[in-house]
């Protein structure tokens, strides 16, 4: 039983932050609650953000896809803007989380703000250059998702609220794919790799390689990305892709735990990165492949 004194329901993002700061005592934001009810924190009140107008998924006039922090994983998995963006990478990541009833209530915001190294939406979002929107009582800030995570269970938020994320219009036509290794289907991931890239005129434009469960925070393998960006696809032999995988493996910082050894995780980063790159490069060119610069 969660020993809360009060449950506050916010009607807007600004009101949510104000309710959080009002005291007395300590508060916590609640969205789906699928994490909070498993590990109820010691606090006095919860601020519910499900009525704060953050549940929508929309395409902005600039062509970005905006996903509100309170959008549920089921909504994300089935929304046409998300399934149609970069091969549906984010939709697939959402569809692989938990089980059907959990996805009815679990949200994007809860997945990211938990800041677990194994959060399943994080690698997909990092690979897609997601930008997060953070609200204060009467101001807003945006920053790249890479800068959002500070450590396990630590983000830049403080007592501010995550309002949502935007997937930039430039990435809508990227090729993208991900792999996630687990011991059993419902267990948390041992290793997650998500790769997104653009191809134009036979050359790689942007390359994004995002890793989960292999460092204190979800991360990008930027050295490996830099090895590939701008290269002619015809020059990318299997050995070069394997090298990129090894570089990505050298960039991560996994730990030994009861699920897997650090050495295994690191090796799998190399293998999965190579396979994902090879698979994406072998895809037939599509009309929507865009030559956006890295």
């Amino acid at each position: 039983m969660w020993d809360l004194k009060e449950y506050r329901i916010a009607g807007s993002p600004g009101e949510a932050v104000a309710m959080m700061r009002r005291g007395p005592g300590k508060g916590v934001y609640i969205a789906g609650g699928t994490d909070l009810f498993l590990f109820p924190p010691q606090c006095d009140y919860a601020v519910d953000i499900n009525h704060a107008g953050l549940g929508a998924i929309a395409r902005t006039p600039d062509g970005d896809v905006f996903v509100g922090a309170a959008a549920t994983l089921h909504h994300i998995a089935t929304n046409p803007f998300v399934t149609g963006y970069a091969g549906g990478l984010l939709a697939q990541a959402a569809a692989h989380c938990g089980n059907r009833p959990v996805r009815s209530t679990a949200t994007l915001g809860g997945n990211l703000c938990n800041a677990l190294p194994s959060a399943d939406l994080a690698p997909a979002l990092l690979a897609l250059d997601a930008v997060c929107y953070i609200v204060d009582e009467d101001s807003q800030e945006s920053l790249p998702l890479e800068d959002f995570f500070e450590g396990p269970r630590r983000t830049v938020l403080g007592d501010r609220l995550l309002a949502g994320i935007a997937l930039p219009a430039a990435g809508a036509g990227w090729r993208a794919a991900a792999r996630r290794l687990t011991r059993s289907a419902e267990d948390i991931a041992l290793v997650q790799v998500a790769v997104a890239l653009s191809v134009a005129d036979g050359r790689l434009g942007a390359v994004r390689i995002a890793l989960g469960s292999v460092a204190p925070v979800p991360m990008r393998a930027m050295l490996a990305e830099a090895q590939l960006e701008g290269e002619a696809v015809a020059d990318l032999s299997p050995d070069r892709l394997a090298d990129a995988g090894l570089i990505a493996a050298s960039e991560c910082d996994p730990i030994d735990d009861h699920r897997a050894s650090a050495a295994y995780r690191r090796q799998m980063v190399g293998v999965l990165t190579r396979r994902l790159l090879a698979g994406l490069l072998a895809e037939q060119p599509r009309n929507d492949d865009q030559g956006s610069a890295a």
């Binding site: 039983m1 969660w2 020993d3 809360l4 004194k5 009060e6 449950y7 329901i9 609640i30 789906g32 609650g33 699928t34 009810f37 498993l38 109820p40 009140y45 919860a46 519910d48 499900n50 089921h74 938990g98 089980n99 059907r100 009833p101 959990v102 009815s104 209530t105 419902e186």
Partner: protein, 166 residues
């Protein structure tokens, strides 16, 4: 805290602790079809519908019900689709101890009701996906899936008159 909701098609008021789960309040109210299994969102014994969506009521705040619609197996007892599912589960020997059955029935009801509305017929994959949150430690899954497939085959003929249809 005080809550006003639509419970099984009727207006209801609850007085509940701010940190209570939906499952705890339902069971205190005498609605005990939803079971306490794992209480960690894994087993689905506690599945109910919140605004028509299946949720694990053990990991949902009771306060979420305020201003919303909660439907439990009890509220679907007279629904022709639910009755067919119950009969099919028995006919296909998809029930042993029965602890998982209320949750499975609510999940399958949600799937088949949506399929009927869309005029589609779910295949085994969709049925398995719908049951992805319902663990059964006795019967397994082959028989419940067969039961659901049998109801799915006759879906168009089942009238939509239940609580959730209103």
């Amino acid at each position: 805290m005080r809550m006003d909701l639509t419970l099984n098609g009727r207006p209801a008021q609850w007085e509940a602790a701010p940190g209570a789960t939906l499952l705890a309040v339902l069971r205190d109210e005498g609605l005990v079809a939803a079971k306490r299994g794992c209480e960690t969102g894994d087993c689905g014994a506690c599945t109910v519908l919140l605004d028509g969506q299946p949720v694990n009521s053990c990991v949902v705040a009771a306060a979420r019900a305020h201003g919303h619609r909660v439907t439990t197996l009890e509220g679907l007892a007279d629904d022709p689709l639910m009755r067919r599912l119950q009969d099919a589960l028995v006919e296909h020997a998809g029930v042993q101890c029965g602890y998982c059955s209320p949750g499975m029935l609510v999940s399958l009801y949600h799937l088949l009701r949506a399929c009927r509305a869309e005029g589609t017929r779910p295949g085994d994959h969709a049925i398995r996906e719908a049951l992805s949150g319902n663990l059964c430690r006795c019967t397994g899954y082959v028989k419940p899936v067969a039961a659901a497939a049998a109801v799915a085959a006759a879906l168009a003929g089942i009238p939509a008159t239940g609580t959730e249809a209103r």
